[in-house]
């Protein structure tokens, strides 16, 4: 039986609930209904009283999760969409992120954010907010791109003593399949070489890893060997793996689905320039969405976000420099 990215998220939560009595799930429609995307389907039955529906009160949902965490629990919060986490922004960045630093008492919450664009979802059901949260000291931000990572990184996130923002990509939920759940895995904080190459490095994360891989495959037919690095975690960034890749290729394109101003792709580039300027044969480049809200119409959306075609075009430009 193949496992989807969504199955992996559900199974990781099931395992965490089974192994650790302190774990519970809180969010809108997560109980009997199993959540808007069915990421908690069946868990309320298997773990009575530990998968709890909330009112439509994001601020209070995260606030209560924080309270439970500092009282010894391991809450998992499901936001119905990443976009709605804006309403919990205060609790996330001011309460959870500062808590350990201020008091010495850790705040182990995991906030699951169904993220990223899908066709027709429009400006309020498509956002990628990893860079916003990564900006704040005290948060860990994860952006799994594979079924294996969705599983192992979520399990690790729940065990981590700090607040973790877990950005799971909605586009990957049903499309992405693996043969089985992983037995061993890379730890959080490590990037992964998703494809080896020697002419240029594309650093990507979440759904963009798959667009980058597709671009690399297409370009292989033109004789280019493109290396793809899957960041896996947005914070911390595994700068060593990126620098090692750039040392091999001399060229860097960093791709993200979120808005172009600042953010994770800019952070990667700034680190590579600062620490590995001498490794670069060309100016490092980055590719993000356009600098407008995310459009509803598929015609506009396809142009707004980086696609494999846009990534291939940017990589070809980079190779000409």
């Amino acid at each position: 039986m193949p496992v989807t990215y969504l199955d992996a998220i559900r199974e990781a939560q099931a395992k965490a609930l089974a192994e650790d009595d302190r774990v519970f799930i809180y969010g809108q429609d997560v109980a009997e209904f199993g959540g808007a995307f069915k990421a908690t389907k069946g868990l309320a039955d298997r773990f009575p009283g530990r998968v709890v529906n909330s009112p439509i009160s994001e601020d209070a949902i995260v606030g209560a999760a924080i309270g439970a965490a500092i009282e010894g629990m391991r809450p998992i919060v499901e936001m119905q969409f990443a976009d709605f986490s804006s309403l919990a922004f205060n609790q996330i960045v001011n309460q959870s992120a500062t808590h350990f630093w201020r008091t010495g008492v850790p705040c182990p919450i995991t906030i699951r954010l169904p993220s990223g664009g899908t066709e027709g979802s429009g400006p309020f059901h498509s956002q990628s907010v990893e860079s916003i949260y990564a900006h704040y000291p005290g948060l860990i931000v994860l952006t799994p791109a594979t079924v294996e990572d969705a599983y192992s990184m979520l399990l690790e996130a729940i065990r981590i003593d700090d607040p973790v923002i877990f950005c799971e990509h909605k586009f990957l939920y049903y499309h992405l399949k693996a043969d089985a759940l992983p037995a061993v895995s890379l730890p959080v904080g490590k990037a992964r070489i998703a494809r080896f190459g020697r002419h240029a490095t594309i650093v990507a994360y979440s759904a963009m890893v798959h667009e980058a891989l597709r671009a690399a495959r297409e370009m292989a037919e033109e004789g280019w060997e493109i290396e793809v690095v899957d960041l896996r975690s947005a914070k911390p960034i595994d700068t060593d793996t990126i620098l090692a890749s750039v040392a091999r290729t001399g060229r860097l394109l960093c791709v993200g689905e979120s808005f172009p101003w600042g953010g994770l792709t800019a952070e990667v580039i700034s680190r590579v320039v600062g620490e590995g300027f001498h490794l670069l044969d060309a100016p490092p480049k980055r590719l993000n969405s356009k600098d407008t809200p995310i459009p509803y119409h598929p015609n506009l959306w396809r142009v707004h976000r980086p696609t494999w075609q846009a990534i291939a075009a940017a990589t070809r430009n980079l190779l000409r420099l």
């Binding site: 809108q28 429609d29 009997e32 209904f33 808007a36 529906n53 009112p55 439509i56 009160s57 994001e58 601020d59 209070a60 969409f81 976009d83 709605f84 804006s86 309403l87 066709e119 027709g120 979802s121 429009g122 400006p123 309020f124 059901h125 172009p260 101003w261 480049k285 980055r286 590719l287 993000n288 969405s289 356009k290 600098d291 407008t292 809200p293 459009p295 509803y296 119409h297 598929p298 015609n299 506009l300 396809r302 142009v303 707004h304 940017a314």
Partner: protein, 348 residues
Amino acid sequence: MSQSLPQSTLEAAGSPPAGTDRSVEAYRWMVLARVFEDKIAALYRAGKIVGGVYLGRGQEAFSASLGMQLDRARGDVFCGLIRDQAGRMAFGEPLIDSARTYLGSAEGPMRGRDGNIHRGRPSKGMPAMISHLGAMIPVVNGMLMALRHRKAQGVAGGVTIGDGGTSTGAFHEALNQAAVEKLPLVLAVANNQYAYSTPVSEQFACDDLADRAAGYGVRGYSIDGTDLDACLSAFTEAIARARAGEGPQMVVGKLLRLAGHGEHDDARYIPESKRSEPHGGDCLALARAKILAEGRAGAEAVAEIEKSAQERVEEAVARAQSEPAPNPYRESWHALATKHLSEGTTEV
């Protein structure tokens, strides 16, 4: 380029003949909304609409009664949410706006940038909702504050929310704000017993949401939202009091969502028995029966309303379907009104 449209499509209201009973007028909007949404649902099932489709089935009486009794000509504003097709049109949103937004026509008010129910014409008193529940109430408050600043007399602002939306911080902040400012706000809470799959028993613990009104210093009304006459009179009173300077009014209508949360949802979690409980009926069928039984309109007139709704919907949908989709290469990729300060950066 926008082509000229047949008058019947463009006209928002198409005012009813003089002397028409107002329940019959409301019924016209309810039917138009129902027929339109049935059509949209069919198009969605046929794969002709991308994104979510959320229907107001069962809520038309409540929604239309508010929208219809607000008056843009006096300066009123109205902000509907996802189940307010009826109220939006009754307030003055042209049917073609809806068709174009659902079908992604570049000619629509949102130009394909936003879609489906996320539409409005802010300069015509219809703010365009964002998805974040509760967020529109303070926006309507602000419009009313601006109107007050401009010395507009006797205006009112209507805004709707669901039972689930009352749990947001924005709902509480905005209702308190409106009360403190004594704004002429009419807040319509459609308690359709569910927020997606979540029953009201897991949403709030008071007996009746209208009980909350007193806590804010706001007048509360609790009505049967499936009874068109009750909806009309409650909103008549609420709007009159708001206009008269009595401050915010909160009308809670009890009814039942007669559809899935969206058309992707079979709503298996709603027991069939709910439909035979109080407030579980279909406001449209109930209104029709009453209008006929009491002779407010004859069978022929009612049939004519229904036929004309079908025709108008077919015409608007056909028109929107024939229009061009947005062209990404002619799209102006700038989010700022101040164009020269817009970066529009994608590749750096």
